[in-house]
């Protein structure tokens, strides 16, 4: 027994270095240093500046902002004294699958510009049965905005509801989605007719850039038919007819009308047919906002028609804290920025690597 014990201790002694080595904890060296990933260097109003995310308290904050229900892919780089915000509007807003720009094909980006003319004008007088309508209260995204005449200057996608007060005191609401300032990839008109025999006939018309793949007809949110037309006997009273159409290019559009089963003229036509709109398209355009010592300068309030962002490359970087994919836009730009208070305009020359979060 003693011999066995002695041998055990000797073995332990000989294996001591092995035991020591096997207990070694791994020390992982710190990550390799790198150059600033997000940076901006240039002049603003003749004053040069440099912003590096990670230096002097500067941070890069990529984010997706909703501007009037339109995704704005932006990144904010700066610290308390100087902050640069650059973003790109999404495009193809009626095609959710194609809203994110194809960064691989982008070589230059135009600047978005604020319209000084209304992008959309809706008014009671453009309605066919305006003589039977006492007043129209326009609601934009659920907020009462205008009476009888609605003018929208800012680009976006809006849910507009017309609260129509007829002369006989009847109040009826009709809502439709309206896109202002962005390209429409497909659309249709909802046409209808009610005969004296209270036979309703509805059909889809109007120009379109794509073929309708399917259309669903609803009466008071009850599915009535699938197809491009609908006919049925109308019951007395006011009813809402809604058509949801899906186009082959993926666009999904909805239009609604109010019909009168009493044949007293208290109908509300699809007011989107009567939109007076200009041709401004802000798809994939850029905006810049620069804040310096508390003063805010923006690009969209001044003409930058001749200025562009020259894109060198857009590469995927990673996921930000909000879970959005982040792309690094590297490029150069010249732009004019206007002070939002003093209206002072200063030129901006910039070489930038900025992170844009996208959806």
């Amino acid at each position: 027994m003693m011999k066995l014990s002695s041998s055990f201790y000797k073995l332990c002694f000989l294996l001591l270095p092995v035991f020591a080595a096997s207990c070694k904890k791994e020390i992982i060296p710190p990550p390799s240093p790198n150059d600033p990933v997000f940076k901006a260097e240039g002049t603003f109003g003749g004053t040069s500046f440099t912003l590096n995310a990670g230096d002097d308290g500067a941070l890069m904050t990529p984010d997706v902002e909703k501007i009037n229900n339109i995704d704005f892919y932006k990144g904010t780089l700066g610290n308390g004294n100087l902050k640069l915000e650059l973003g790109i509007f999404s495009g193809n807003v009626d095609m959710p699958e194609a809203a994110t720009p194809d960064f691989s094909s982008i070589t230059q980006i135009n600047f978005a510009q604020q319209s000084y003319q209304p992008l959309i004008t809706l008014c009671r007088d453009s309605m066919p049965n305006r003589d039977l309508i006492s007043q129209v209260n326009w609601y934009v995204n659920g907020i009462p905005t205008a009476i009888n005449t609605l003018k929208i200057y800012n680009a976006g996608k809006y849910e507009i509801c017309a609260h129509v007060l007829f002369n006989d005191g009847t109040l009826k609401m009709l809502c439709n989605e309206v896109v202002a300032g962005f390209r429409s990839n497909a659309d249709f008109n909802l046409n209808f007719f009610i005969g004296q025999d209270l036979k309703f006939k509805g059909w889809i018309g109007g120009s379109s850039n794509s073929t309708i793949e399917s259309a669903s007809w609803y009466q008071d949110d009850v599915l009535m038919n699938e197809g491009t037309s609908l006919g049925f006997d109308v019951s007395p009273g006011l009813h809402t007819i809604k058509v949801v159409a899906v186009f082959t290019n993926g666009v999904r559009k909805t239009h609604s009308v109010v019909i009168d089963g009493d044949l007293s003229g208290r109908y509300i036509d699809d007011f989107t047919k009567n939109i007076q709109s200009n041709a401004l398209e802000l798809d994939y355009t850029a905006k810049i906002k620069l804040t310096r010592n508390g003063s805010v300068y923006v690009s969209e309030t001044i003409a930058n028609n001749n200025n562009k962002i020259i894109v060198e490359e857009i590469t995927y970087h990673g996921i930000n804290s909000s879970g959005f994919p982040v792309y690094i836009l590297k490029g150069k730009l010249n732009a004019n920025l206007r002070n939002t208070s003093s209206l002072e305009v200063l030129p901006l020359q910039l070489s930038v690597s900025i992170g844009l979060a996208v959806k």
Binding site: P29, V37, A53, G54
Partner: protein, 398 residues
């Protein structure tokens, strides 16, 4: 015939003064092959790993140091000395007898034979012949010389090399045993020789402890920093008067805080993260295998040697900060960040034999191979850092 001790001593002394028998390795090898192996002591087993290296080192040193002289190294272990030196087949027919060869006495018993009728012809005065054994266990086989001066000299003096060994071999191999007429022999026991002066063992296992200071391989400040060091070891030494050698294995540790690495990196992303790691070695342990050539004069031993070293393990204090916040902190064993594993240290030393088995000495070494990656450590690397140690060595019998 009964011999008194005085008579045996007298015979041995007379024999030793008259005859010089050449030494042959083959004799020893044959005899050793017949000997039962003695169980090794525990300490040998314990240091078996180290001694395997020592065996090689000692053998190499032996070849170098002793190559001019054919000499059987002393201290090859306890042996049982058999009186016969002949072929094993012959021994099988003869009762194998012998007496234990102890460190104190190499007394051997021989039969002295007055060969009268069948004298063995010999071509050499030093020819050794074997006679039969008829002593029924009490009278062992002996060695008969032609001139009736039986001597067997297993450990020889250096001048024995002058003997014509080749002729001796031939004579032995041609020995016709049947020509010996043992019936006519007058047997008597003759002591072979007194080996008391020759069998002194100079080879010893030793254990050693050391303590001293070692120059830090990195100089953090303007002046060299010295670290305390200590070690223990064991090995084998062969130290006759004159040139000897020793070799062994040791574990040495050095202690201090001069070896410090600070690693920083700034990683940019949406912001920046400042990483800082601090690695401070406070204990280094080396396995060392010192080999030295020793010159001994009386009680003084001067040595010059070479010590390969291997970094066995370390102990370090580690901390890591991210943006000034400590995220990891602790002591770690076995890290080698910035350190080199192998080294080579030339050494000179002096030892004073304060008693038969104790040596007190001083040793100075220098590290030839850089032990650190200079770019990683804070400070300037030291070129050939020195170390000085006081040593205390104890030799052990085995």
């Amino acid at each position: 015939m009964n011999w008194t001790d005085d008579e045996i001593d007298k015979l041995f002394q007379e024999s030793a003064s008259k005859v010089d028998v050449p030494y042959k390795d083959t004799y020893w090898n044959e005899m050793e092959a017949m000997l039962p192996r003695k169980k090794r002591k525990g300490i040998i087993w314990l240091w078996g790993g180290g001694l395997s290296f020592l065996t090689f080192a000692v053998a190499a040193a032996t070849v170098i140091a002793l190559s001019p002289v054919e000499q059987k190294p002393a201290g090859t272990g306890k042996t049982t000395l058999h009186s016969g030196t002949y072929e094993s087949t012959q021994r099988q027919t003869e009762p194998e007898t012998g007496i234990e060869k102890t460190p104190e006495s190499h007394l051997s018993v021989e039969k002295q034979s007055e060969v009268t009728g069948n004298r063995v012809e010999s071509t050499s005065n030093n020819t050794v012949k074997q006679a039969s054994n008829t002593g029924a266990g009490t009278a062992p086989s002996g060695i008969i010389t032609e001139n009736s001066t039986p001597l067997f000299h297993p450990v020889h003096e250096p001048e024995a090399t002058a003997v014509n060994e080749e002729s001796t071999d031939q004579t032995i191999l041609a020995l016709p045993l049947n020509t010996l007429d043992f019936a006519q022999s007058d047997y008597q026991l003759i002591p072979m020789a007194s080996f008391s002066g020759l069998k002194k063992k100079h080879g010893r296992i030793y254990v050693e402890a050391s303590a001293g200071i070692v120059q830090s391989p990195v100089t953090p400040g303007s002046a060299a920093e010295w670290l305390p060091t200590a070690g223990i070891g064991a090995g084998y030494q062969y130290r006759p008067q004159g040139i000897g050698f020793s070799g062994g294995i040791a574990l040495g540790g050095s202690f201090g805080n001069s070896l410090e690495i600070t690693r920083r990196s700034k990683v940019y992303n949406f912001g920046a993260t400042n990483y800082e790691q601090n690695l401070r070695y406070n204990q280094l342990y080396h396995v060392e295998m010192p080999v030295s050539v020793d010159f001994r004069k009386n009680n003084h031993v001067f040595s010059i040697g070479l010590t390969p070293t291997y970094l066995a393990t370390t102990r370090m204090r580690f901390s890591q900060k991210e943006n000034e916040a400590v995220v990891v902190e602790g002591s770690y064993w076995g890290q080698r960040v910035g350190l080199h594993s192998f080294g080579l240290k030339p050494a000179v030393s002096y030892q004073l034999s304060v008693s038969q088995s104790w040596y007190l000495g001083i040793r100075v070494e220098s590290q030839l191979i850089p032990q650190t990656d200079a770019e990683q450590f804070i400070g300037e690397p030291a070129r050939f850092p020195l170390s000085g140690q006081i040593t205390l060595r104890k030799t052990l019998k085995y």
